[in-house]
């Protein structure tokens, strides 16, 4: 069929990915304070594409076609503004000519990746709040709609619009420029960019609340952005590689974490043949690149943990001793109750279940955590069951059940309780 041939010319997310590129080039032309104008030009280009491609045919290079439309429109707008200024014909012509040359350059591929990086740095500006950075990045760099962002973060569209509005205002009021920082500034600013990408990925990977489709989208978008960063001379530092490898290792296990009924499959029971070997290969590749230099970031350590899991052929063959050491290192770098909890799980895997329970109970603020966070109850309950303290374990699991809003988590907890009480009776 003619149209299926047509449709096959369109890659998934073409518009979304192209939106980010066009915005990047257009904000270089108009300035980021004119972001709205750039967004209007992009919208117009898509409208033109949908009409022309639907009724006639898709061009051989759809992304180049879109870029061309955006570029022509940028030149048009410039011309119109230029005419409104009162110069002699000679001066006007020269200014216009010069400006058109610059626009031409800005729409070159190599310059576009540079512009995308500038845009990422602006969207992840350290003066913005994390939730604003994420929403603004997804909207501007990644081409997500506010509805899609709201769905991913389980909030309403107005909340997302507000975050984006605040970010835009902040950029205008503080005259934040589209630039790639240099020297010490670059290192600091990259840290913020990494943090935003890490949050973005984790939101997709860990939130069991939003639907699978949008979660996949967030994870692959985080990987895409991180890859973009790693391919640019200003972004390719060991921390970027470590973060990218971490994302690859986690994403490799995506398919095996849920069964066909959307029930959670625990690491021990995951079908390792479902793990994406290509992503594991990429993870190893980037982890290797990340070892250049002397810096060890939390991404390095987390990635090393994920690598140890991914490279273990079976669950029993997992190198728990190495993982324990890595968690200890992580505890020194970024002490947190959650990391301590994870470390205790590893201790239990190594047979020290009693010690693991003692350590969890001595986490500071554990009483409060047990009242608010289901995970602590779930892990502790599980460990009690292993010690054959069925009653205590069941109590804790029931509390975990009450604290989580995730259907999949609730089902997993129910299964555990049933299993434990069945074997007792």
């Amino acid at each position: 069929m003619e149209s299926s041939v047509q449709n096959s010319k369109l890659v998934d997310h073409l518009f979304r990915n192209q939106a980010g590129k066009m915005i990047a080039a257009l904000t270089r032309v108009f300035g980021i304070h004119n972001l709205q104008l750039a967004e209007d030009v992009v919208q117009e280009a898509f409208l033109k594409a949908t009409q022309s491609w639907t009724y006639h045919q898709i061009p051989d290079n759809p992304s180049a076609w879109l870029m061309q439309v955006a570029k022509n429109r940028a030149v048009d707008i410039l011309r119109r503004n230029q005419q409104a200024r009162q110069y002699s014909k000679e001066i006007s012509y020269k200014l216009q000519h010069e400006a058109e040359n610059i626009i031409e350059q800005l729409f070159h591929d190599s310059e576009i990746s540079d512009s995308q990086l500038r845009l990422i740095f602006a969207c992840c500006h350290p003066q913005l709040k994390p939730e604003e950075q994420i929403a603004f990045t997804l909207k501007t760099v990644s081409g997500f709609g506010t509805k899609e962002i709201a769905r991913a973060f389980l909030t309403n569209e107005e909340a997302i619009q507000k975050r984006i509005y605040r970010a835009k205002q902040h950029i205008k009021e503080n005259d934040i420029q589209l630039e790639i920082p240099v020297g010490k500034d670059l290192v600091k600013r990259l840290e913020t960019v990494h943090a935003v990408m890490y949050l973005l990925f984790n939101e997709g990977y860990n939130s069991s609340k939003s639907d699978e489709l949008i979660r996949h989208d967030l994870c692959s978008e985080a990987i895409r952005l991180c890859k973009l960063l790693s391919e640019h001379k200003a972004g390719k530092d060991p921390a970027t590689y470590a973060l990218l490898s971490l994302m690859c290792f986690h994403a490799a296990r995506f398919e095996s974490r849920m069964d066909e009924n959307n029930a959670i499959v625990l690491l021990a029971e995951q079908d390792r043949s479902l793990w994406d070997t290509e992503l594991i290969r990429m993870g190893n590749y980037y982890l290797n690149l990340s070892s250049a230099g002397n810096t060890v970031t939390i991404y390095h350590v987390e990635s090393a943990i994920a690598a140890t899991h991914c490279n273990a052929i079976t669950f029993i063959e997992t190198d728990w001793n190495l993982i324990l050491k890595l968690y200890e290192l992580l505890m020194q770098m970024k002490p947190s109750p959650l990391i301590e909890l994870n470390r205790c799980v590893v201790l239990a895997e190594l047979g020290a279940v009693d010690q693991a329970v003692d350590r969890i109970l001595s986490i500071s603020n554990i009483e409060k955590l047990l009242k608010t966070e289901y995970l602590y109850n779930a892990v502790l309950g599980d460990l009690y069951l292993r010690m054959n303290k069925t009653e205590e374990g069941t109590d804790l699991l029931l509390q975990a059940y009450a604290l989580t809003s995730s259907k999949a988590e609730k089902e997993l907890i129910t299964k555990k309780i049933q299993k434990a009480n069945l074997s007792r009776s």
């Binding site: 979304r16 949908t50 009409q51 639907t54 081409g143 997500f144 509805k147 899609e148």
Partner: protein, 113 residues
């Protein structure tokens, strides 16, 4: 077989779609045209630009589009083949813009023998 015209109107009040939604919508339209073509029912179609003019009355008064006061904008048309108005109307139900408050006006092209 008779010729029918589908006149597509879009709601101007619909929220701005995201790039992803625009691409999905476009691919649905392509799929629809493909289906009609494979059934030998598609004759022609063209999209319309949103800008335009209206010329009205004995004095040929000209006003500018886009027609800001109207809640709907004609976005394009098809000419299709069908046996009856009922069949054509049934075909129009596949229009991808219906969920976003779009509408299809189905009209038989008058043939003068």
């Amino acid at each position: 077989m008779k010729d029918f015209m589908f006149i597509f109107r879009n709601s101007t009040e619909a929220p701005q779609p995201s790039p992803e939604e625009m691409q999905a919508n476009m691919q649905q339209w392509m799929g629809w045209i493909e289906k009609l073509k494979s059934q030998g029912k598609y004759v022609a179609g063209e999209p319309l630009l949103p800008e335009g003019k209206i010329v009205k009355g004995a004095k040929a008064l000209i006003t500018d589009g886009p027609f800001a006061e109207s809640k709907e904008l004609v976005g394009g048309f098809f000419i299709v083949k069908a046996e009856t108005l009922e069949e054509a109307t049934e075909m129009a139900k596949d229009c991808p813009d219906l969920p976003t408050n779009g509408s299809v006006e189905v009209r038989e092209v008058m043939k003068i023998d």
